[in-house]
Amino acid sequence: MNWILLLEQVLNGVQLGVLLFLLAAGLTLVFGIMDLVNLAHGSLYMVGAYFAATFTSWTGSFVLAIFLAVPATLLVGVVVEVICLRTLYQRNHLDQVLATFGLILFFNEAVRLVWGPAGLDVPLPDFLNSNFEILPGVPYPTYRVMIIATGIAVALGLYFLVAKTRIGMLIRAGATNREMVGALGVDIKLLYTLIFGLGAALAGLAGVMAGPIFTVETGMGEGILILAFVVIVIGGIGSVRGAFVAALIVGLIDTVGRSFLPDILGLVLSNQYADTAAPALSSMLIYLLMATILAFRPAGLFPPSNG
């Protein structure tokens, strides 16, 4: 086995994992606290990526674009929350699924109208578009290192926010007992809007960072949204810690599985069959993982304390 290739794939897996975490953190917070299933979370990711493309071409600087696109996505998120989602908190999950499904249709079409049907590319500045020696003689794209570093920084920041601050205290209280937070005299509406905005900003950040790696196109948020759902289901809905652990697991298994499964299958099957079976099987891996975990722990790895 090629150890350098394995190391690269592991890093790629971690990188996918932190992107998934950025998306899943918002989803799981919004679900844990507001009891809202938001399918349109992936749309915010897509919007973030489009903003990054536009602001990069306006300002000529990707770095500047990050600092513009993230607040812009936050703003979109807040507007959506105030106009539409706020009325859905009291509704059952089916209503929420349907309404946010409607939002996806709307966002995909709106993006197509504004930015056109063709995909966009986000060019990287030179200092990021280079290689970084993670080990002597082992280069790895600097930009991907930056993604991993940013993701871990955000995870630490979120941990600090949830564990050490007053807002975090309210968030934790809200996840276990909604009425209690109201009884504390907190403006619940504002708190919810804030949390949703935070989730939107994180999704936007994920979209911005994904921009230079994937093509920016309509519907780009849907595939990754479903992965993010798998992540929060595995992690335990409502748990940020669970989302982090599960995001890394899913990112790693998906990436490493895709690159090594053909070889592994080749050991037991003839090449022809291995080549046929491997792509199908490797995209099944994380779903098999999820099924296995849920079969033993129906509420995920880190179920919320209120059961």
């Binding site: 699924v97 309404a99 499904f101 995909n108 129906p298 509420a299």
Partner: protein
């Protein structure tokens, strides 16, 4: 109001029965195809409604069963020509295959998913259908992404010829009728009451002695089979199968049809499917960006017309939440 509802339903069924002659008379054969699609999707929605409306299990993955049913036709057609296995072109093979394979997958997916509740159930069914979608995308021999074009529709030698649009239409129409009648019987049977009781109050059902899990699982399998039959028809209708039939947004479409028509009502899925495809047809003839309007429309339906179309036609008797 109640009488109006019955009159409208009978009118709907009667006009659906008359679609082929009218379309032929108007010289617009396209309408036969459009309404055929409505009937087929209505069958799928009827299947979903059995678990979602009557069983209270919101499955976000039922398009997978439609896809399985469709692929049985595609795979049969493929091998009958490529490998010269004649019997695989036969509907007498393809239809039972669609039924048994969708039942098999529904059994496995249901057995795992039904261990979970609420939002976990929504997501795990979604994930399983995505998994099958990726399997279809990954299987190169059956066309991967691009899917398979049928070499011919299912052959029911000596019984049926599906090759005319009108014949296909009436096969769909009769199948729809059979499914409606079967579901009508099921929901009023002991089994039907058991799954509806489990929707209403699962804890209490267990306390009075019902093992709710196997009943729900059986309901999930029946509903998967109905969707598999819809898939069998859909493949024949479109002469084509592709992974797109199993895409999660197709599952979303089925949920929309059920809710739009009226969840947990016998005719709701049919009304919903007709309404859904009509709205799609009308909006998309006005503007290419029809989803820009369909999305918000859907949100408005959720916010303001919770009982669906059926709810608008019913006297307000129950205020259930």
């Amino acid at each position: 109001m109640a009488r109006l509802r019955i009159v409208l339903l009978i009118g709907l069924l009667a006009s659906l029965a008359l679609v082929p002659p009218i379309a032929t008379w108007l010289d617009e054969p396209f309408y036969i195809v459009l309404f055929s699609r409505m009937l087929i999707l209505a069958i799928g929605a009827i299947g979903l409604n059995l678990v979602m409306g009557y069983g209270g299990m919101v499955s976000f993955g039922h398009a997978a069963f439609v896809g399985i049913g469709a692929y049985m036709v595609g795979i049969g057609s493929f091998h009958s020509i490529e490998d010269g296995i004649d019997w695989m072109a036969s509907g007498f093979f393809q239809l039972p295959a669609a039924i048994f394979v969708s039942a098999f997958f529904a059994l496995i997916i249901g057995a795992i998913s039904l261990r979970t509740k609420g939002v976990y159930f929504i997501m795990i069914t979604l994930a399983f259908s995505q998994m099958l979608y990726f399997v279809a995308v990954g299987v190169e021999i059956y066309g991967a992404d691009d899917g398979l074009s049928l070499y011919g529709r299912s052959e029911f030698a000596g019984l049926l010829d599906l090759n005319s649009d009108s014949a296909m239409y009436y096969v769909n129409f009769v199948t729809l009728g059979i499914c409606l009648y079967a579901v009508h019987r099921i929901i009023n049977s002991r089994f039907g009451l058991a799954i509806q009781g489990a929707r209403s109050n699962e804890r209490r059902m267990q306390a009075i002695g019902f093992p709710t899990f196997p009943y729900r699982l059986a309901g999930f399998v029946i509903s998967g089979v109905i969707c598999g039959i819809a898939g069998f028809l859909l493949a024949n209708q479109t002469d084509f199968v592709s992974p797109d039939m199993m895409h999660w947004t197709r599952s979303g479409d089925l949920i929309i049809m059920v809710v739009l028509g009226g969840m947990g009502t016998l005719f709701g899925p049919l009304v919903g499917a007709v309404a859904f495809l009509l709205v799609e047809e009308i909006l998309s003839s006005i503007t290419i960006s029809w989803q820009l309007y369909f999305g918000p429309l859907l949100i408005l339906v959720v916010l303001f017309a919770r009982g669906g179309i059926d709810g608008l036609l019913r006297p307000r008797q129950r205020a259930d939440g």
